[in-house]
């Protein structure tokens, strides 16, 4: 059953609260936390930084960013990021020249290690930035990536 139908049927999340304690429901399935999606619709890297409040990020050497210098296929660019900044709670990846530059955000819980690997799309050669948030401060690192075949158009 889809969650929204489920919630509609029961009226509200609070009506489900007794079920959470009973173990019938996991909190994860009842929680309706929605993050701010606006930065994901921003069309320039400057707007992404503004909307995420990370414009004043300071350059750091404590973020490890592994991405190919030349990516042959922009449809799948492997990236590995890890932050050595203590207390990192969030990582964001911004690809400056993509139509919507904010590629991902990662929000870490206390058990998580601030490290991830995934695969990105890149429309063309571009600067790739990582912004880490730790203790209310922001840190950034970037690489320039050359893309041989873009990953956004029709193929």
């Amino acid at each position: 059953m889809k969650r929204r139908h489920f919630l509609k049927a029961f009226g509200s999340v609070s009506a489900l609260a007794p079920l959470i304690g009973s173990g019938l429901l996991r909190p994860g399935q009842a929680l309706a936390v929605d993050f701010n999606r606006a930065p994901f619709e921003a069309k320039t890297p400057a707007d992404v930084l503004r909307l995420t409040g990370t414009g004043a990020a300071e350059a750091t050497r404590d973020i490890f960013l592994k991405v190919p210098e030349v990516a042959e296929n922009g449809a799948s660019v492997p990236v590995e990021i890890s932050s050595n900044i203590p207390g990192t709670t969030r990582l964001a990846v911004i690809i400056d020249k993509n139509p919507l530059p904010l590629a991902l955000q990662f929000n870490f819980g206390p058990e998580a290690v601030p490290r991830l690997q995934t695969r990105l799309r890149m429309a063309e050669s571009s600067r790739l930035r990582v912004v880490a948030t730790a203790g209310g401060k922001h840190y950034t690192v970037f690489r320039d990536v050359k893309v041989t075949i873009g990953g956004c158009g029709d193929q």
């Binding site: 996991r26 799948s76 991902l104 990662f106 819980g109 799309r121």
Partner: protein
């Protein structure tokens, strides 16, 4: 979303307490960006995975919010410290609110 089950790999399902566990997870999903057009020049409606979360027992390990710049069939590798036994629950939600789940049991050695 696809009907194929998520592919999940866990580095160690019986970790020692505090051991760092790596998890790789991938689903099949078109991650349609909304920027492509079909044969008749009409834009294909956007549909991307907009949220992925991993929980161990009741604890939220992390939340991943992908944008349109995540490759088709989104792949993620993440890492956390195993502090308790429990079920690792992974959930993907796309913009059509289709949800996919995968579970792995972790038991502290």
């Amino acid at each position: 979303m696809s009907v194929k089950p998520p592919r999940v790999w866990v580095s160690n399902a019986r970790p020692a307490r505090g051991e760092i566990v790596r998890v790789r997870a991938q689903i099949e999903h078109i991650m349609e960006s909304g920027l492509r057009v079909d044969g008749e020049g009409k834009p294909r409606p956007r549909n991307i995975v907009r949220r992925f979360e991993a929980r161990l027992g009741a604890n939220l390990v992390f939340v991943w919010e992908p944008g349109i710049s995540i490759a088709q069939n989104p792949y993620i590798e993440f890492t956390f410290a195993a502090r308790e036994s429990g079920e690792l629950l992974m959930q993907w939600v796309d913009e059509k609110e289709v949800t996919l789940e995968a579970r792995k049991t972790l038991t502290l050695a």
